[in-house]
Symmetry: C2
Subunit: 299 residues, 2 copies
């Protein structure tokens, strides 16, 4: 078509879409046109054909051991550009990692936490599994990445960029605060005793983001995960425009956690928490064995 682009209205790098404002060739200057482009999903039935039949020049971008990354389907700015990661040889672990995760909704009462979740955490998730966190706190690893450190043993924490953030643009900023205390595995551990720690993390974490990147606190989503990916209190700081793991049933805004504890000191020891769980996780299996899975009304 004879479409002349005037400006971009919006784009999503995760959805692979872009909205453009412009005008058609020959139209008068006031008659505008919007063109919204979104790449189509791969069609699983047709993918083998598409891979073998289409003219797909491959460029190797990167190689490290079993991982190789290619670009294919034309120039980077072209419409058909595709990123292609090849893992060879692929182990069973790789297969699990790339296989779709089944997710279920589970309601955890305080009783189920005491009976199933906490014993599971103490048995399977502490000790060596979180040694890498202690290495960071002990400055054995990643000390060059630390952006802020508050050494107070009770209310202090270490603040550093998340591995997933390239530290190049602030619109996808993603950092973590890791508490110095080692006795707080999850949200369920938090009581009014920990309010000074939580307020300190919220205030100083937002302070760093403002002084280093000019980001105001109302541009930042500050949250904890329940269930978390590792069982040592840590807080996520992400730009509001990012689309990470921020879904209800997993992410809890830190300000709301503080407000809940102020309302009732034992809120997180009392309230049932409804959460999403991957069926591939050990905790899901522990719930299954304990007969803790709801048949209805669990949503």
């Amino acid at each position: 078509k004879d479409f002349h682009v005037e400006r971009m209205l919006s784009e999503s790098t995760s959805r692979k879409s872009i909205a453009l404002l412009g005008h058609l060739e020959g139209a008068d200057a006031d008659t505008k046109t919007i063109v919204y482009l979104e790449k189509k999903p791969f069609v699983s039935e047709a993918i083998a054909d598409a891979l073998s039949s289409e003219p797909t020049p491959l460029t190797r971008d990167f190689n490290n051991a079993e991982y190789t990354v290619y670009s294919m389907g034309g120039a980077a700015g072209g419409l058909g550009a595709v990123k292609c990661d090849v893992i060879h040889p692929a182990t069973a672990k790789h297969v699990v990692k790339y296989t779709k995760h089944e997710v279920r909704v589970v309601r955890e009462t305080a009783e189920m936490y005491a009976k199933v979740t906490l014993p599971y955490i103490e048995r399977e998730e502490l000790g060596d599994r979180i040694k890498w966190v202690h290495n960071i706190l002990d400055k054995k690893k990643e000390s060059e990445r630390i952006m802020l450190e508050d050494t107070d043993p009770k209310d202090g924490f270490i603040f550093l960029p998340d591995m997933k953030w390239d530290q190049e643009t602030t619109s996808d900023l993603y950092c973590q605060a890791i508490a110095n205390r080692r006795d707080l595995p999850t949200l369920r551990s938090l009581t009014s005793e920990h309010l000074p720690l939580l307020r300190n993390i919220l205030k100083k974490g937002c302070g760093v983001l403002e002084s280093k990147f000019g980001l105001k606190s109302h541009h930042v989503r500050v949250y904890v995960h329940y269930q978390p990916s590792f069982y040592h209190l840590h807080v996520h700081f992400a730009h509001v425009d990012t689309e990470g793991s921020i879904e209800c049933g997993k992410a809890h805004l830190l300000q709301n956690v503080i407000d809940n504890i102020e309302l009732r000191g034992d809120y997180y020891q009392t309230v049932p928490l409804t959460m999403t769980l991957r069926t591939s996780l050990g905790l899901w299996k522990a719930y299954e064995s304990a007969g803790g899975l709801p048949v209805e009304g669990g949503g």
Copy 2:
């Protein structure tokens, strides 16, 4: 490459990615390879060139008034396939709709709700703005779409598929329950008096999804929005695999809402709620005028 696909491991229609397990030509049967393909984002600087220079056969799929939908960049199963929506002529409203929404994090105390939010809702969002909801409840519109109706004036509701759901596959199921009562604009209105209504919606809504689609309740995310897009109590039922508006700071799991009210009957009249707000909304402007925007610690 000479890659033979054995099976698909996972795919994402929103991210436009697919992971395939297979083996390379000539490799022994036990040596597997994973190929992960993800379409690259549009490059905004290069898009004008790509649109004009690439060979992009256009197929018109659909036309309705100012909306036309094309397919471009090859066959549907091809790597370069792109969906192209053209809006012509585009009005200022269209431009706003397609322009990126700026989002901010705001903490709403009970006092701010009484002083700013509720007066804004009563002034701007009730009356004619929700007439379309009353039309559904009065059976003047969409009555052929109703999947379940409980006519009890206090605890009853109407259950119907959301407009966004094509009703073809259950893995992206999305339905809504709309309460018969007209005096509950938001989450902030809910007290222990409304527990029978909330439990009724959760139980019967999950019941319909199980009897009609065989979906168990732990496959369904049931939630309310705060702020909602319209101010009449309604509950979203979505398959856990969907990625709609489920982010913390906006979505609240209904089971957790019930549990909070059971813990404390006036929970939602008391606790501060931290939420994300679009700056293009009237409520954001009401907050600005009232000086209700936090400078720090609002995350």
